[in-house]
Chain length 128, copies 2
């Protein structure tokens, strides 16, 4: 582990300290600021060209996949919390009820900018 | 599909046009500029906090996981090619032989900045 504190390498530390395989991000729990466990990360959506993580797909409810719903959350609303070992979002369970979501048999068209804008608008995040 | 051409929304088109679930990026073939099939994407490595895709882990060789090797490639060296439906990298098969790699039983320490710098140096990509 390199020690680069105090060398102005803040961004380097941030880059190195939290790198993880996407396959291991899946399954990470998502909490709200009240400590409620809202669900877990089911998958992430990335831009093939820009290499930016755009959405975390959070699974919510259901049992063994039955009745499970998926909420795409703009990556920007998720804050990783080392202490809880999960992501924290400023979303109440009530707010999730009206949020964009899809069922297990559906697959959103991630290429549709209108859909992307609807998700980001819901969470007050700029779409770009 | 929204039509935003000519509205200065170039970046928006790029964002929307290539969004895909990380789980579906896995398996995408990787070619070099000579058209050789070098392998396929096995996983990607992202920064949990900055949401940036740092590495694509390319699997190379092997059969049913036996003798398979994994090469972490800086995301910046991969160019997605719609026509081939895969990524193209400017790397020869010979160059891969000396490239940073790991076996099926190993797992690199992605948090180690020295390791990250070694990968990026090998491919001539700035580490940050």
């Amino acid at each position: 582990m390199s020690s680069t504190l105090g060398t102005g390498a803040t961004s380097e530390i941030e880059v190195g300290a939290d790198a993880i395989e996407a396959s291991r991000v899946n399954g990470t729990r998502v909490y709200n600021t009240d400590g409620d466990n809202l669900g877990h990360i089911y998958d992430i959506v990335i831009g093939k060209r820009d290499g930016r993580v755009k959405y975390a797909i959070m699974s919510f409810g259901g049992f063994l996949g039955i009745g499970e719903e998926y909420h795409p959350l703009p990556w920007e609303v998720l804050k990783y919390d080392e202490r809880q070992g999960g992501y924290v979002v400023g979303i109440t369970i009530d707010q999730l009820k009206d949020a964009p979501r899809f069922g297990a048999a559906e697959r959103p068209n991630w290429v549709d900018a209108d859909y992307g804008r609807r998700i980001n608008d819901y969470y007050g995040v700029a779409y770009y």
